[in-house]
């Protein structure tokens, strides 16, 4: 299936903002992307969680009570695997994911969200659903200073504008 990024004419690779020393953050758009929402059906929360935990080759991220985002697995395969334990909604075209890394990534994200991003409170593998710049955002910590963040596709351009503006003071690299 053709997957076209809504930001293909907006995001330009390069070095921006404060230019003393190494860039504080590195930003990129995760594309193409397969992102599927899985919502456990009534009374099936445990079964759905177990089947997701047993999955190989895909990343499962918490996205609310008995709800998950699965990255890197196609919706049809998930539907087959989970059967009637969960509802499967393909969000690959519905959401846009950004990767944010670098020593200033926490400082950058903290400008937009009330979530406590300290490594003790928000360790690798943890996800949060929150609002950033008035946009609903799903945030996951993927490494020491690495995050993945997804927003609704329609908000992606204005969110990108906000994100890059906030990153100016740290200096940022777009890949």
């Amino acid at each position: 299936m053709l997957r076209e990024s809504p930001l293909k004419d907006v995001v330009r690779a390069g070095r921006y903002g404060a230019d003393k020393g190494a860039p504080g953050v590195t930003l990129s758009v995760v594309h193409p992307l397969s992102l599927v929402m899985v919502i456990a059906r009534k009374g099936k929360a445990k079964a759905a969680k177990e089947s997701l935990t047993a999955m190989r080759g895909a990343t499962v991220m918490w996205a609310g009570p008995d709800q998950y985002y699965v990255k890197g697995a196609e919706a049809a395969a998930l539907k087959k695997k989970l059967g009637d334990a969960a509802s499967i909604i393909d969000q690959s075209h519905g959401r846009v994911m950004f990767r944010i890394s670098g020593p200033k990534s926490r400082a950058l994200l903290a400008k937009g969200t009330p979530v406590d991003l300290h490594a003790d409170e928000f360790p690798i593998g943890k996800s949060a659903v929150t609002q950033m710049a008035h946009v609903g955002a799903h945030l996951t910590c993927t490494g020491k200073d690495d995050f993945e963040l997804s927003v609704f596709r329609g908000f992606s351009e204005s969110f990108w504008e906000w994100l890059t503006e906030q990153a100016l003071e740290f200096g940022y690299q777009v890949n």
Binding site: A63, P114, V129, T130, Q131
Partner: protein, 109 residues
């Protein structure tokens, strides 16, 4: 401004609600529906119209503790019940609306 009057910026900004799913979040992430106490009548019989009137229109306006429905609209989108103090804005606790309903059923309300 009379005694006891608090400016707007003293009100919302200090309200931290601990969502059972997401942890501590500011009040801006929540949408409030109102008092969680009224129970929807189970009958549609005309004789129950008085109960319906109470359920739809009549609300207590307590000074002190109140249980209120809150939707974590800027987060996990779960329905919660927040117990807060209308006088001091202190938040006493938060449970999911589901747990609240189970508890209400058990206590025979």
């Amino acid at each position: 401004m009379g005694p006891g009057f608090r400016r707007d910026d003293d009100l919302g900004s200090n309200l931290i609600i601990t969502c059972p799913h997401c942890g501590a979040r500011p009040v801006e992430e929540f949408t409030f529906l109102g008092d969680a106490k009224p129970q929807r009548p189970t009958s549609n019989d005309p004789s129950s119209m008085e109960q319906w009137f109470d359920y739809v229109y009549l609300r207590d306006n307590p000074k002190g503790r109140i249980d209120e429905f809150a939707h974590h609209s800027g987060g996990c989108r779960a329905w919660l019940v927040v117990t807060r103090n209308t006088e001091t804005h202190e938040v006493h606790g938060t449970v999911t609306a589901k747990d609240y309903a189970v508890r209400a059923k058990k206590s025979g309300r």
